[in-house]
Symmetry: C2
Subunit: 283 residues, 2 copies
């Protein structure tokens, strides 16, 4: 059975690892300097902590980290792979802009490492469900086949390195941007006394949107800190010439404010929970 | 039967007039300096063009214009009402921020005109359907009763003058902001070669959102020019302290770019139509 290495054992990384392990694979990881919580989650998923150099014993190395860490992880992998005769391919699965992906790939120049651009669309794998979908571009088909054989849903994109990242940016821009819009306007309604009438009007005239917001906003609270860099990546992806880049710089600031609130007073969380009728949480 | 005056005979103003006329009311309007198209639309709806001073013969004067014109219309009405013993009440139904609404109301100080804050949520009235919903705040109940009696769906808000405007800002921020997000990301997908995979992924994993975008984006083309000022009003409503104000300044620029394209080369319209499978239009 194949041997994978996954750098990053957050909610997504550890759940992807568990899916692979459940299909018989071994999943190595590197945990030096990580928090107790991360170490516990990695072990619970059945990942095997190893030293950094041993990561290269895998058939494939995956990076599943917050976007702001993607380049650092690539540099680590380029470093440990340097000088190897047949280093394992490297798949970046992070929510980064195509340009960031190209800058990341440049770290491997002359190293002999095959670099693939991947993007995960959907939440972490859950037993009994086939998602998320992992898009891969720049692939010779062999590396991603290994993932497919171990229970992951893979779609290959014809485009060049960066095509999967572009898809992820566009998808996240719509999906997470929508949560940002809803968050901003529910908070504004709350402070201007229009919360009740807004909620009533949404549930009546836009029931799909109302349902999606009521579910997605509480799901966002613990992820807001991670979405900050993701929104900045989307702004970079759109580029200075596109007026929509401004939209996502605003989104980054909004999620940054939410992230501070989630870790701090939870005043905004309380306002949002009240409008959407969410029972609230104590953690 | 009551006598109304409606200033503004765009798609919304003329359709509201027609609903009132179909219920037996007379609807006066003021058309000096308007385009041939506007004059034709007003007459087709059965509106009666009068001189500006005669507008005050109505039982109620409504303003239904693009947000950037709302203050100018209020000044006209304050001017023609000045010196009257019992001037008709004035209802602003435009998509303006609560602060703009308060600035607008200030134009009537000392005039004896009762000023109401209204907001229209939903598209123009269509025969056989009960919508849109017209929210009214700051109402003594009598003026809006007249509208209700002539076939409009009215909801009174308890809040002060500005509460209806706040509701409209929040609702439009979600509803039109969503169209802006979709427009921005579909265009980005188009120029980065990810259009096909994005459309496939959306229709599979977010079918509600996909359907709504496919319908709402073409509907937006002819309205984009009007949405520019509306997005600016939302940014003002949110205020400088709110990072989400930046989101709506970006939205205003995006719709401004769309409006230029709609009137010009229609290159962006073509890209959007191609992705969403819209047959396109020649107008």
């Amino acid at each position: 059975m194949p041997n994978f290495a996954i750098i990053g054992s957050g909610a997504m990384g550890s759940a992807v690892a568990k899916r692979l392990i459940d299909h018989g694979a071994t999943v190595l990881t590197y945990l030096e300097g990580r928090s107790e919580q991360t170490i516990a989650r990695a072990k619970a998923a059945g990942m095997v902590p190893v030293g950094r150099q041993e990561l290269t014993q895998a058939d494939l190395i995956l990076s599943i980290v917050p976007p702001a860490e993607a380049i650092k992880v690539a540099e680590l992998v380029a470093d440990i792979s340097s000088g190897m005769q047949a280093p394992p391919p490297f798949v970046d699965l992070n929510a980064i802009a195509p340009k960031t992906m190209q800058a990341l790939a440049a770290r491997f120049e002359g190293s002999g490492v095959e670099v693939l651009d991947g993007a995960i669309i959907g939440g972490p794998p859950v037993a009994g469900k086939s998602g998320p979908t992992i898009y891969i571009s720049g692939d010779s088909a062999k590396p991603s086949r290994l993932l497919e054989d171990c229970g992951l849903r893979i779609r290959r994109l014809d485009g060049p390195l960066g095509a999967a990242s572009a898809l992820k940016m566009c998808y996240a821009g719509i999906n997470k941007g929508f949560v940002g819009l809803g968050t901003a306007m529910l908070l504004a309604a709350s402070r201007s006394g229009a919360a009740e009438s807004l909620k009533a009007e949404l549930s009546e005239s836009l029931p799909d949107i109302d349902r999606k917001l009521s579910r997605s906003i509480p799901d966002m609270y613990p992820k807001a800190y991670r979405w900050v860099a993701e929104m900045q990546e989307i702004a970079d992806f759109l580029g200075e010439d596109d007026p929509a880049a401004t939209i996502f710089r605003g989104m980054a600031d909004l999620f940054s404010r939410m992230a501070s609130d989630v870790e701090g007073s939870r005043m905004l969380v309380g306002q949002l929970d009240e409008i959407i009728g969410h029972p609230g949480t104590d953690n």
